[in-house]
Symmetry: C2
Subunit: 307 residues, 2 copies
Amino acid sequence: MMTVLTGGTGGAKLIEGLILEIDPDGLVIVCNTADDSVLHGLYISPDTDTIMYTLAGLSDDRQGWGIRGDTFTVLEQLENYGCSTWFKLGDRDLATHILRTKLMRQGLSLAQATETLCRSLGVATKVIPMSDDRVETRIATADGDISFQEYFVKQKWHPEVRRVSYSGVATSRPAPGVLHAIREASAVIICPSNPVTSIGPILAVPGVRAALRETAAPVVAVSPMIGDTAISGPAHKLMAAQGFEASAYGIARGYADFLGAFVVDYADSDLKPRIAALGLSVHVTSIRMASVAEKRRLAREVLALVE
Amino acid sequence: MMTVLTGGTGGAKLIEGLILEIDPDGLVIVCNTADDSVLHGLYISPDTDTIMYTLAGLSDDRQGWGIRGDTFTVLEQLENYGCSTWFKLGDRDLATHILRTKLMRQGLSLAQATETLCRSLGVATKVIPMSDDRVETRIATADGDISFQEYFVKQKWHPEVRRVSYSGVATSRPAPGVLHAIREASAVIICPSNPVTSIGPILAVPGVRAALRETAAPVVAVSPMIGDTAISGPAHKLMAAQGFEASAYGIARGYADFLGAFVVDYADSDLKPRIAALGLSVHVTSIRMASVAEKRRLAREVLALVE
């Protein structure tokens, strides 16, 4: 069993490569849920959905979220009703949220609802939300606290970030199977996801970081940064706000207490000595994954590191 | 103020005619809600929606329900998830159910949620659900009790009906404004709707029938039957099960305690003496409403009866 910790878009690319290289049912994927929110009365779990759609072969690779070829008719009508529609929810995607909300109102946990959705889509890989408890990434700006989706989608990561916090995380518990999946893994892979708002919340769930430190499995991470900028999204801005150096080195330092190996881009080869000085083995390669071939190649390299 | 009691399809046709003849904001429409149900976790109010869409100019006249030109993408995906999809919910229609469910979960009553939806669609006419309490038409068949939608839509009115009951009606209260709208009306119009499953539940809400008996306003009804068959739907089957004669006369007899005038089809002119013997004035005309012109003409005739 190989265990993967991930957010949405960036992680989904590596996972797409991984399931082309190894048996999908040998993977356990632990997803960030700190971007989950309730919109139009429906429970939305953006990262879990992106990963689930990727595993089901439904994902929209161009956008990095949602279902390929989806339409937006419901959202148009909600807009006619005067609803706020800055968060784009496609029609097929909404079916997921409608069903998940129904299952959770019937008493299923988020993890159980996720399992039901995955089974219906024929997903063989086990997808586990990091926690069944509500944890919410809050972005403190000059104009007050906003959710990550408000910051990222609605305000297009323009506001200056003062601080990032994970509301509810201190009292949250890892979802059933999360700690076991880390402790008993043959390898743990940390995806090239935002270290502050995707991997950060998973690490902050009580018990997860300790399990990563204690597991006998090799732990390898892929950098989501090239130079001082994230490949996609605002990771560098959020890292700076949290007092991290906005670079692959800054990430390696944040993970150093549990990490064995770190994969960085050729462009960051100059960081190799500094990262190595943290006690990590450093693998330098191309970390951009613009094509399926690149996803597979990077997945193969990561797998070689843990074998 | 003119007050209209209605179910879905048949009533919507007459209402479409009425709002072309009189000022729409001079009408109050009391809708049957005994066909309401929760599907996919969403609160659906089929008759209220049909009337609301008709008043907003959105209705699908060909089908008699839903929004014109609607698509069914969400439902397709729900089917992929293994959900039961015999009740056809279009994408735009689903926006209504999503928003209504959200509003009701926030604490709004069905009547308040309906008012919000109508306002957003620019509907000037006041639409009131018969009750904010859950009342459900139950159809007793040889294979057990089913809802009206299960009988009508899923089983296409094939099972033999033993009895019809309105679960919850005894303890229900009329929604705010319903009794006032009947008592203070200048006229009350009973639409050509199913007397057992559309008008029946409204009449069974405690206080409604008494208000109809007591109001000083003329009360006129339009027959939904021609000969021994309903113009559309299974009214005749349900009437027979309830011990009514399946004819315009059977309906007139059921309404006689509060009705002043009854509109029947030319094909039923032979029933005129029997209906008149109930103490009602009888108006014979063509009650089919296949075109907008026919809807307007029938509306004009009904308005002339109450003026």
